[in-house]
């Protein structure tokens, strides 16, 4: 029996999305499953954005907080550090300080932070709210305007607030993250609702909701795989936006990235363990289909970039 490689080609293709202006970057565009360049084209590497926030990262565990000591008290110096010292290709600014249970900063304050950060960096900016449905719709509308002409990604639009956020992204020419909770049908439905408002599907990014390794990652993994299969095999256009893995925020919350080795000797060194936890979570998202990742620890990012190198060449 002679071996014939069972290669598969698809009619569908993931949309190619370009963000930023000065140092613009593109991702997506492939017509095959993740890293299956042996049977189609994969024009771009996935992009990893460094996460920063509008308030000091006091809630981040020591291992990752200490990396940004001295720069993280101010979002501008933090962003510069990521661009200049860590060679970030993109930056994700999370406006967590606007959450009503946190510092409860107002839209005007958020606007100022966004403008200041944007004038300090050349790489593309992803602007995230605090994941508070009502507050996000106020805050993201304000910052979308402040960021106009910079071709940012704003998010996340959810079922409860997509109308205002979509309108703002549309008015100021940004890309938009649509997030739903771990269900391919919900995700599809939200993308449809958003495009029905006239928002071009080619400017969407789907976030099916990330989960950390050990804390439900298999659900995100399978939802991503199914979305990608629908995009390729069924040529389903609403499922063809690139996928986001918002990795860092989920990973640096779990016990495995916080418990000391003294507390749990069988888990080994906290530093390596937590960095690996973020890197493995990211790798799983990539293999499942994510084209855009948001991460926190530079050593995890470096390892994942090397992983991508090996997968691409």
């Amino acid at each position: 029996m002679a071996f014939v490689a069972p290669k598969e080609t698809f009619s569908g293709k993931v949309f190619e999305v370009t963000i930023g202006t000065d140092k613009a970057i593109s991702f997506g565009g492939e017509n095959v499953l993740p890293f299956h360049s042996f049977e189609g084209t994969v024009p771009h590497r996935p992009v990893i954005a460094y996460e920063i926030q509008d308030v000091p990262p006091e809630d981040w565990p020591e291992t990752v907080r200490s990396v940004y000591e001295g720069v993280s008290s101010d979002p501008v110096s933090w962003a510069r550090f990521c661009e200049d010292k860590l060679n970030a290709k993109a930056i994700a600014l999370r406006l967590i300080g606007t959450h009503p249970d946190r510092e409860n900063k107002g839209p005007e304050e958020a606007k100022k932070v966004v403008s200041d950060v944007l004038s300090a960096i050349k790489v593309p900016l992803i602007i995230l709210g605090s994941n508070h449905v009502e507050k996000d719709s106020e805050v993201l509308v304000a910052v979308a305007e402040a960021a106009k002409d910079r071709n940012c990604i704003i998010g996340k639009a959810q079922e409860g607030n997509y109308k205002t956020i979509t309108a703002a992204a549309m008015a100021h020419n940004h890309k938009l993250i649509a997030m739903s909770e771990l269900d391919i049908n919900l995700s599809k439905q939200l993308n449809i609702l958003i495009t029905q408002m006239g928002f071009p599907k080619e400017r969407l990014i789907t976030d099916p909701m990330c989960s950390a390794l050990g804390y439900g990652i298999e659900y995100t993994y399978s939802v991503m795989e199914r979305i990608r299969l629908a995009a390729l095999t069924q040529n389903d256009a609403v499922m063809q936006p690139p996928l986001l893995g918002d990795v860092g925020t989920y990973v640096w919350k779990v016990k495995e990235t916080q418990a000391s080795e003294t507390e749990l000797p069988s888990w080994g060194s906290l530093k390596e363990r937590s960095i690996t936890w973020e890197a493995v979570t990211a790798a799983a998202m990539l293999v499942a289909g994510a084209e855009l990742l948001i991460m926190r620890h530079p050593e995890a990012v470096v390892a994942v970039e090397r992983f991508i190198d090996e997968l691409m060449q």
Binding site: M1, F3, H99, E181, Y215, V254, W267, A283, F307
Partner: protein, 447 residues
């Protein structure tokens, strides 16, 4: 690929003699197709038909195992390409490489690491499954000494005997054949000798070739020599080649019923950079590897890999639920806070993660709501005041805690009065709507 009734019928004698207990050959064929009859019930079936039917009913990826006793490692038998279709069957085994050129001290310490690698996670015992001993020296005598030493120090750990030298293979198998190690293995230059050794010592055989075409011809050749328990290596080392080869191998086996590649796969994932090694090994776990070979077994790296494997190999059909009970987070004292939520497993993961994050030891009462999230369960009438009150009473929690305060999710604030009515003596406090508000909420109460 299973044959249809009609396809099977074509292979039968077509005499309708009824000796099989069925009225016609066709009726018997239909029963065979549904696996409700077995071929030996027909006394007149041809050898040719037996062969074809036997092959067609064999699983597309051959079950192969190595090791012995309760540590036996099962591989193969996979039926799908994507985990949402059906549960992945036999979790990838993690094997650590020991080179026979390394010092005895280093070898002994790696063996120690393997023996102490077991941890428990979500009720499962997870560990480094096997040791691969690599005959890097090329010498038979040194190899034999190392295999002997390792096998004595780790008497229950499945072994992979990695040598291309038939003499070294035979010398070591004389010592450890009864433990059914995997002999790795055969290549185009030594295939006959290795196949003979595998046959003599009754051990499975690893087969390595350069690329999928060469690999297919080599497994066919070895099969024709009478050895069928094979583990295959396409020579893929880089991540790009691992994903390509493993995908094509699994597709060929499952979709084309291509037997020469219908075997479990071994991948070598060793890297200088240990975090990168964890990622390459992760790729193996996600993309169809049956044996993942590592260079070291640091506890921190093991934990990520064990967890990923456990996650990827869970059953996607099982509803996303956790067991109804009161979970302890941190080390709660009698006066520590008590929160309640539903048993949708993601709700549980997120809420317990946030409580963990708050560093405030607490109890989390997880109520069976058939795997629905808080809002959906409330809307469906499964997370109601009466049911919550009943659960709290029956849980026996009143004997464990010194207070009578229950923190409920912000989304069901409306229930607080009704719960207080049904739970006399209790105070209900409304917590945050979203889980990410929990740390601030709990910490504030402490101050």
């Amino acid at each position: 690929m299973a044959l249809t009734g009609v396809e099977i019928f074509k292979l039968l004698p077509k005499t309708n003699c009824k000796k099989c207990g069925h009225p016609t050959c066709l009726a018997f064929a239909m029963k065979l197709a549904q696996r409700q009859a077995s071929l030996d019930q027909c006394p007149d079936v041809s050898e040719e038909a037996k062969r074809i039917l036997g092959e067609a009913s064999a699983p597309p990826i051959r079950p192969v195992s190595f090791g012995s006793g309760d540590r036996t490692l099962k591989m193969g038998e996979e039926m799908v390409l994507f985990r949402h279709e059906k549960k992945f069957v036999n979790p990838a085994a993690f094997a650590v490489e020991i080179k026979d050129t390394e010092s005895d001290d280093r070898i002994n310490s790696v063996v120690e690491d393997v023996l102490s690698s077991e941890i428990e996670r979500v009720g499962q015992k997870l560990r480094i499954d096997a040791i691969l001993i690599n005959n890097v020296s090329g010498e038979a005598s040194r190899f034999e000494a190392v295999v002997k030493n390792v096998s004595e120090k780790a008497p229950n750990v499945p072994l992979i005997i990695a040598t291309g030298n038939p003499e070294a293979a035979e010398a070591t198998l004389k010592i450890v054949a009864s433990r059914r190690p995997l002999l790795y293995g055969a290549n185009k230059d030594n295939a006959e000798q290795m196949a003979n050794i595998a046959k003599t010592y009754k051990v499975p055989l690893g087969v390595k070739a350069d690329g999928l075409e060469a690999l297919s011809s080599l497994t066919e050749k070895i099969k024709s020599l009478g050895v069928e328990d094979l583990v295959i290596d396409s020579g893929a080392m880089k991540a790009k080649d691992i994903i390509e080869h493993n995908t094509l191998i699994r597709r060929a086996a499952l979709k084309k019923n291509f037997k020469p590649l219908g075997y479990p796969v071994i991948n070598f994932c060793q890297r200088e950079d240990k975090i990168l090694e964890a990622l390459i090994a992760s790729l193996g776990v996600m993309k169809y590897s049956s044996i993942v070979v590592l260079s070291s077994v640091e506890k921190w790296k093991n934990l990520s890999l064990f967890t990923l494997r456990q996650n990827i190999y869970t059953d996607p059909q099982v509803p996303m639920q956790v067991e109804q009970k009161v979970y302890k987070i941190g080390e709660p004292r009698p006066e520590s806070p008590l929160l309640i939520t539903t048993n949708f497993s993601l709700t549980y993961f997120i809420v317990s993660g946030e409580i963990e994050n708050s560093k405030v030891p607490s109890r989390l009462a997880v109520m069976d709501c058939e795997g629905l999230s808080v809002l959906t369960a409330w809307a469906a009438g499964k997370f109601t005041a009466a049911k919550i009150a009943q659960f709290i009473k029956e849980s026996g929690i009143e004997n464990e805690i010194s207070h009578r305060e229950l923190i409920i999710p912000g989304y069901v604030a409306i229930l607080s009065g009704a719960i207080e009515e049904k739970l006399p003596g209790w105070k209900v406090t409304v917590g945050p709507k979203e889980a990410n508000g929990i740390p601030a909420f709990l910490r504030q109460r402490m101050s």
